[in-house]
């Protein structure tokens, strides 16, 4: 006997109804059994107790306006302290009447970061955004910038050379000739400058009074260290990761050695090396700015960690992707930039942002070498004897500011994952 399904439309059944609405949801998720109900009630009571105590201290009995710490004593939180010190906490020892400069520098950097977080900006506009944004930021912070002809030529030569190397096998001929021309003209100019044919010439842009990095402090320092640290560490980490997988033993060895060496020491020791030991090796009379040294230390350290994360992404790609890229005739640079990295980076967004968040907070370690980042200025605000005895308020405030930054990054990671995987998943 045969059993054949009748031809024609099969009857589609509606899914079984489930309890919906707030009460339905609560019954299902919070009070589904005796044990579950008791757990729910105990946890709700505990949270309510903690929250009410916190609000009692932080809001209901808090002092928001006071002349000195003495007026706060015996009450709840002393937010008057933050009110008194917030400008120092945010901007450190930057000349008081010039505080608008770091403020606008911070706004510029945040605008730059927000603009470049939008995927539609990921093209040549990004270079313009970062060029202009960085210039404005540092002009505001320093107050004056001297641009010598040698520096311009050197940057042009570096840009042209990088363009020739990185875009060499990808670019259309016209673009490549542009890079060659840039590098050629810059090289010729440098030769003329060095031989003395071209006079020393510089462009001094000095709209404001000069403020040295030693006076920088607070939130701009933290944002600059973290942003430029990661912006430079990211491509550096990619190169290290690719180098570690290279077939050339020398390159591979150098990359492995560097990564293992940097990962093997704490960031603090690297910072102390940069601050104390590096000057010993430099010829007398020559000095590199302490802030710059700390920045370089952060870049090297973050680069090693990022390299290992990206290597994980590279290893997660199936061998077939490399082979298919080879088989259609792409060369190494094309294969890496067009096929391998776009996929590998997508895979590692969560651990990558995790590292970024970690490094944003780790910049606070620069207080060890006497740089006044945000946590350090917060710390210094406690020193005032008039306001002694309220560390909790200051650290809570600092924690809140850090949290705002870190949580934004965390949300951004989520957005990126969804955005980049649009369409590629079934």
């Amino acid at each position: 006997m045969t059993d054949v399904m009748p031809t024609g439309e099969r009857r589609q059944l509606a899914p079984p109804t489930v309890e919906t609405g707030v009460f339905g949801w609560m019954r299902k998720n919070l009070f589904s059994s005796w044990g579950n109900s008791i757990t729910t009630i105990v946890l709700v009571l505990a949270v309510a107790w903690i929250l009410s105590n916190f609000l009692h201290w932080a809001v209901f009995t808090a002092t928001f306006d006071a002349k000195s710490g003495a007026e706060c004593r015996g009450h709840g939180a002393c937010w008057a302290l933050i009110r008194e010190k917030y400008r120092y906490i945010f901007f450190g020892s930057f000349p008081y009447e010039q505080h608008w400069r770091p403020l606008f520098a911070v706004i510029t950097m945040l605008a730059m970061l927000i603009l470049s977080s939008d995927r539609r900006m990921w093209n040549k506009r990004l270079i313009a955004i970062w060029g202009i944004g960085s210039f404005v930021t540092f002009l505001l912070m320093f107050g004056e910038i001297n641009i010598s002809i040698s520096l311009i030529l050197f940057v042009a030569l570096a840009a042209g050379g990088l363009g020739m190397i990185l875009r060499g096998s990808i670019a259309q001929p016209a673009e490549l000739n542009g890079w060659r021309a840039l590098a050629g003209i810059a090289a010729a100019g440098l030769v003329l400058r060095v031989t003395g044919v071209m006079p020393a010439w510089g462009l001094a842009i000095a709209p404001f009074s000069y403020v040295e990095t030693g006076l920088w402090g607070g939130i701009p320092v933290t944002i600059i260290l973290a942003t430029y640290g990661l912006v430079f560490a990211f491509p550096f980490g990619i190169l290290l990761a690719l180098g570690r997988r290279s077939n050339l033993p020398l390159i591979k060895g150098l990359c492995v050695g560097f990564i293992e060496l940097i990962r093997g020491v704490p960031l603090i020791s690297l910072l102390i090396m940069a601050s104390v030991m590096l000057p010993l090796f430099l010829p007398t009379g020559m000095s590199i700015d302490k802030f710059l040294r700390a920045q370089v230390a952060v870049i090297l350290f973050a680069g090693a960690y990022i390299a290992e994360i990206i290597r994980g992404g590279l290893q997660s790609l199936p061998k077939g992707q490399f082979e298919a890229a080879d088989a259609v005739g792409l060369n190494y640079v094309q294969k890496t930039t067009l096929i391998i990295l776009p996929q590998a980076l997508r895979v590692v967004i969560p651990p990558l942002i995790n590292t970024f968040i970690g490094f944003f907070k780790d910049t606070s370690l620069v207080l060890i070498i006497g740089i006044f980042d945000f946590l350090n200025t917060a710390n210094q605000a406690l020193v005032d004897p008039n306001w002694a005895g309220f560390p909790g308020e200051v650290y809570l405030f600092a924690a809140f500011v850090y949290f705002c930054f870190c949580y934004s990054m965390s949300r951004y990671s989520k957005y990126l994952e969804i955005e980049l995987n649009k369409g590629t998943r079934r």
């Binding site: 890229a325 088989a327 259609v328 005739g329 067009l338 590629t424």
Partner: protein, 258 residues
């Protein structure tokens, strides 16, 4: 297989496009290719079969240098394969390859998968590359999928895209590495039909496959490999009707009568 055998063209005067002379390859101690000699004429279609691990995939992967051989010469379209990157890239421009597992680029749309190599390797203007790509997608009968991503297509569709991607570079030679082995049975035919059409248009093809119907329909020569050697080669009629070597007989017995 619906397609019936048809008279094949006379290749005796055609020039050679691929020549392998005394090719040997080892994986560690394991001798995967042992003294392979092979001459492929322009327009010739060769089917390579043999048991798993016999070296047939390795053989065709050596032709476009996805694998390196250690002894002997491989000459493709007049260029002798060496470690020179320029040589390897020149050969890869002339040789298209289709993989068992498709290997489409999952982060690119179907159209981008096709235009990538023409734009970057051949420096073709984007508009021209897209035109070529759309024509090829029509030939493999999926132009409507152009803007989707590989993950949204069925296996058979993906493999047809992979064939179109290889053809986009206008190769002289096509290599197929078990193109239907990873497909669900109902999708095998749509891929084989595209390959048969390609064969009829005169493409030089080397195809590792166990689709004996395909071999009968289009192959000029069937090669049987076992333990890294070419054991037997013949025209398909003779190969299937009168296999000479014992190993060939055993193999054919296993795959044809089960």
């Amino acid at each position: 297989m619906a397609a019936s055998a048809q008279p094949k063209q006379d290749l005796s005067n055609a020039p050679s496009v691929i020549t392998l002379k005394g090719v040997n390859k080892w994986y560690g101690q394991f001798h995967v290719l042992s003294d392979i000699n092979l001459d492929v004429k322009l327009g010739e279609k060769i089917v390579v079969c043999g048991p798993s691990g016999s070296g047939k995939s390795t053989l065709i992967r050596c032709i476009n240098r996805l694998e390196e051989h250690q002894q002997g010469d491989i000459i493709v379209d007049g260029v002798t394969l060496s470690n020179d990157v320029k040589n390897i890239e020149a050969i890869r421009r002339e040789v298209g390859m289709v993989f068992q597992s498709f290997n489409l680029f999952p982060h690119l749309t179907i159209l981008e998968n096709l235009t990538l190599a023409p734009i970057w390797v051949k420096k073709m203007p984007k508009k021209d590359a897209e035109e070529v790509a759309m024509n090829l997608l029509k030939r493999v009968r999926i132009p409507e999928q152009a803007l989707k991503y590989p993950g949204q297509l069925s296996g058979g569709q993906q493999q047809r895209v992979a064939i179109a991607r290889a053809l986009c570079m206008r190769p002289k030679i096509m290599l197929f590495d078990e193109p239907t082995s990873a497909l669900d049975p109902e999708m095998v035919k749509e891929v084989l039909d595209v390959m048969i059409e390609l064969a009829r248009e005169g493409m030089t093809m080397i195809c590792v496959t166990h689709e004996m119907g395909f071999a009968r329909a289009v192959a000029d020569r069937v090669i049987f490999m076992d333990r890294g050697e070419i054991v037997e080669q013949n025209e398909p009629e003779a190969f299937f009707a009168h296999p000479k070597n014992e190993r060939t007989k055993t193999f054919l017995g296993q795959i044809l009568h089960h």
